[in-house]
């Protein structure tokens, strides 16, 4: 059997020690609930297993993707794989014994420091699952810290359905009301928000870049509104965008959530790495794991999980969250990627997210039958495009050229959504060519 290690002789000796002749005798299971069927799964050699699973995966076609919409692809340098796959990292557990797990603790402390630097906030945890659950945790935090008595959170009308759905599950238990506030011209309608915010508002959320790929031009105004109403101001962003953009703390963010998986993410289908940072005065209400610096008996600085009394394994139903397993290994990977890039490399990568989509839009806008982008303003990675032909037909047409783009419903229109990053930038030519052949409708 693979991975099970006893020789027959050892097994006998162990059975003797235990005092049974068959391990099955150790199973203290009433007959009535014994399983005597088969699962019906065949065993495979390592080579066969690889062939089977990889063969299955190969059923998806090889496409050049211009997707985005919450999951973004950046080139991850080889060194991230090589280092993060080291067994001492990959196969270790949560750091309940800090003396023997200093390495991972330090890496998580460094990840937290990176998030603190990017957000400008005082505290960051060492990850939550993804940007949607991070927003859920932010809303629960607002509920706990009760800056107001409000139990309503305000989210922008363009929050993606998939994120909204997660938020609805998070707000269901504590009976928090989720309301949307309007956008206008592709960004937050500050006046509309002002009309809606009030004493019952516990948190206002806004994202930059927003769901349309537009960088919000005046989040300070949103922050002021939240502040005026004693509501928390929660900003959504990601670890690459934040390298370039004004620090959220500088314009009043109390909480920052979003995706740090834009750095270091392994090849994957939609995994995330939720980042979560907040003001230092919420420290004891932070969800998830925190790593702190302390001292060991030798008088040296050492790291440890800290403030564990917030956590489920100690505080149980009064814990700040139910998080046990988080995304530690992905946090390690993000930190390695950031360290490899350095501040210059990270800013350059972010700037490519601005110039790449802008250049693509300019070329597409020059084609007959396309308006790109739909909304004014500076874009980051992605933009919406108006098409003369039905957007779905344009999508099909591109698909035949091996290019994946999306049609989205936006403000009542079917529009094309296009995402450009460092990994598909050199294929923009192909996209423009494909679109050029499809300008005026069929």
């Amino acid at each position: 059997m693979p991975y099970v290690t006893h020789s027959e002789a050892e097994r006998s000796e162990m059975l003797d020690t235990v005092g049974v002749s068959d391990p099955d005798a150790l199973f203290d299971i009433p007959d009535s609930v014994r399983f005597d069927g088969d699962y019906g799964i065949e065993a495979h050699s390592e080579r066969e297993t690889r062939a089977a699973v990889e063969g299955l995966l190969d059923e998806s076609p090889d496409l050049t993707e211009f997707l985005g919409g919450g999951h973004y692809d950046h080139y991850v340098p080889s060194v991230v794989d090589h280092l993060s796959l080291r067994g001492e990292f990959l196969t270790s557990y949560t750091q309940y014994q800090p003396e023997i797990t200093q390495g991972f603790l330090q890496a998580l402390f460094e990840f937290q420091s990176l998030v603190v630097e990017l957000t400008g906030l005082g505290v960051a945890n060492c990850s939550v699952y993804d940007r949607a659950t991070a927003l859920g945790e932010a809303v629960l935090l607002a509920d706990r810290v009760r800056a107001t008595d409000g139990d309503t959170v305000l989210i922008p009308a363009d929050l993606p359905d998939r994120v909204r759905s997660v938020l609805d599950n998070y707000t269901d238990g504590p009976e928090i009301t989720v309301e949307t506030y309007p956008t206008s011209g592709g960004t937050v309608d500050v006046d509309g928000l002002a009309d809606q915010i009030g004493a019952d508002t516990s948190l206002v959320y806004a994202a930059t870049p927003n769901a349309r790929g537009v960088l919000e031009p005046d989040l300070a105004a949103v922050g002021d509104l939240a502040d005026d109403n004693d509501a928390l101001f929660c900003v959504g962003s990601d670890a690459v965008a934040l390298a370039l953009l004004e620090s959220p703390a500088a314009y009043g963010a109390d909480v920052v959530v979003g995706d740090a998986g834009v750095l270091g993410l392994p090849t994957t289908y939609g995994m995330g790495l939720g980042l979560f940072a907040c003001r230092e005065d919420f420290l004891r209400q932070v969800p998830g794991r925190l790593v702190g610096a302390g001292e060991d008996d030798a008088g040296n600085r050492a790291y440890t999980l800290t403030l564990q009394t917030r956590e489920q394994h100690i505080r149980r139903e009064r814990a700040t969250s139910n998080i046990c397993t988080n995304q530690a290994w992905l946090a390690l990977r993000a930190a390695i990627h950031a360290a490899w890039l350095g501040p210059d490399g990270l800013v350059d990568l972010a700037e490519e997210c601005v110039t790449g989509i802008a250049a693509a839009c300019e070329r597409i806008d020059a084609l007959d039958g396309f308006t790109a982008p739909v909304y004014d303003g500076h874009h980051f990675r992605e933009a919406l495009i108006d098409t003369a032909a039905p957007a779905a037909d344009v999508v099909d047409h591109c698909r035949h050229a091996g290019l994946a783009v999306r049609a989205v419903e936006d403000a009542g229109e079917e529009r094309l959504a296009v995402c450009v990053t460092d990994t598909n930038q050199e294929s923009v030519d192909d996209l423009v060519d494909a679109l050029a052949g499809y300008g005026g409708g069929a």
Binding site: T49, R50, D81, F104, E317, C324, W340, H378
Partner: protein, 471 residues
């Protein structure tokens, strides 16, 4: 000499310096964006690739994983993670954007379908969602599904979740997160659910009983059928916490015991790496009655391929996409590698190993017979025992929990430890048992760091390198 002296890099009053202590740069941000959108400068570590590589190589050597030696943390099921699953997970076919059309991601959907069907079979469940990104997320999802079911049946007033005292902390926290009151259930003198107490607790307020079986003492809840009847008769549902499922593979199925909802910890039962705390993945299985409430999307066969669909009364999503996809791939590969025979051998060996180790150690081990884990009782401070065990080249068990056992040492060796390693573990336990208490308090000596003052770290929280400058 000690069996293991951990690597240590040292620089002044710290071990390996922090990234930012090695080399930091402040860059002035220049961008095509207007100034009011961008930050003025960014200060971050600025290291060459050689220095990055050394930093993390050194940190890894100052970290202990299953690849270093045994980690018998009870209920954590720290078993060996087969190396080949990493290569399967790195296969280019995984690089598929989640917003592709169903037609364009048939490989992904095929794997999702095969895995969900397989898990349904293993759990004895009718339907499975793979979406929850961790075990606790699975608990929360399962409770939300149960809640939606009750509400759909006009039983939305049910407000309580019953949880045994020896249950995992996440059970309590997840139930609370879903808005339920938690009713704690005492254990009886043999370490199992006190059936009479359950009878008293179950009633019209009961939404759910959450149970781990075998429980955290490694004991199978023999009265499971009676327990299920009590809860069902009260109109409640039964939730199975899958943390200890490893010991039931091929032997018993939660669905057959009367459980209506369960989660699987793929990173435990199906050996995907714990990665220093995650990512995990916590699929849930449900009975047919609850299937319409599962998260969206689900995957089904259609026209010789696969398609996604939204269940009729879906609770929606618990993750923006499909959780931690790579964990799903690795778990599927692991299951395919083992097959029926291999999976049953896993549970048999895991249970044999736990019982063998329990026989070999000199600390008192109350209760029994054990399945996959046992809880020994230390004569002295269990935390001290753990620190001293570190000096013997092994990772200690979970300490001081469950509280039902005095100074608990909750020990789960798993099936992938050889007899020699189990003997090493026993030797470590027994050496520590024979150690002078003062020496215990001075341990560990052979790890990278000496004993860390955790209380002080919590009193004076310094949670980023920015905080270090202040002190």
């Amino acid at each position: 000499d000690a069996p293991h002296q951990q690597a240590r890099w040292y620089d002044g009053d710290r071990y390996e310096p922090l990234l930012d202590e090695k080399s930091t740069d402040t860059v002035t941000v220049e961008s095509s964006l207007p100034d009011d959108l961008t930050r003025e400068e960014l200060t971050l570590p600025d290291l060459s690739e050689p220095e990055v590589t050394r930093h993390y190589t050194r940190l890894s050597q100052m970290n202990y994983g299953i690849d270093s030696g045994p980690i018998p943390l009870g209920s954590c099921t720290m078993k060996y993670n087969p190396a080949f699953t990493e290569d399967v997970a790195a296969h280019p076919g995984n690089r598929v954007h989640p917003l592709r059309t169903d037609e364009d991601k048939q490989g992904i959907l095929g794997l999702l379908y095969e895995l969900q069907e397989t898990l349904a079979t293993v759990g004895g469940m009718d339907a499975v969602t793979l979406q929850p990104p961790a075990g606790a997320a699975g608990e929360f999802t399962g409770i939300q599904v149960a809640k939606a079911y009750h509400e759909a049946n006009g039983e939305g007033e049910r407000s309580e979740v019953i949880v045994p005292e020896s249950a995992h902390g996440t059970n309590f926290a997840s139930a609370a997160m879903a808005g339920y009151d938690v009713v704690e259930l005492p254990s009886n003198e043999d370490g199992r659910v006190a059936v009479d107490a359950l009878e008293a607790a179950a009633g019209e307020d009961t939404a759910l009983l959450m149970l781990t079986n075998p429980n955290t003492l490694g004991l199978f809840e023999r009265d499971i059928t009676e327990i299920a009847d009590i809860v069902h008769e009260a109109g409640g549902l039964l939730y199975y916490d899958g943390a200890n499922l490893n010991s039931l593979l091929g032997k018993a199925r939660p669905g057959d015991m009367g459980f209506d909802v369960m989660h699987f910890n793929l990173h435990k039962t199906f050996a995907t790496p714990h990665g220093g705390g995650g990512p995990g993945q916590g699929p849930i299985g449900v009975s047919a009655d609850l299937a319409p409430f599962l998260p969206t999307p689900q995957v089904r066969e259609a026209d010789g391929g696969y398609e996604t669909y939204e269940p009729d009364h879906s609770i929606g999503r618990v993750h923006e996409f499909m959780g931690n996809w790579l964990v799903l791939v690795k778990a599927y590969a692991y299951i395919l590698r083992h097959g029926d025979v291999g999976l049953e051998r896993i549970s048999e060996t895991a249970v044999l190993n736990a019982n063998y180790l329990a026989e070999r150690i000199e600390y008192e081990v109350p209760y029994g017979p054990f399945h996959h884990e046992f809880v020994a009782s230390a004569d002295e401070d269990a935390a001290d025992v753990a620190k001293a065990m570190l000096d013997h080249g092994v990772h200690p068990p979970t300490t001081k929990w469950p509280e039902i056992v005095d100074e608990a040492l909750m020990t789960e060796p798993t099936e992938t430890e050889s007899k020699a390693r189990l003997d090493d573990l026993a030797a470590a336990f027994n050496a520590v048992a024979a150690t002078d208490p003062e020496d215990l308090a001075a341990a560990p000596n052979e790890t990278t760091a000496r004993r860390i003052d955790q209380a002080d770290a919590a009193r004076n929280p310094r949670l980023s390198w920015h905080a270090l400058d202040d002190t």
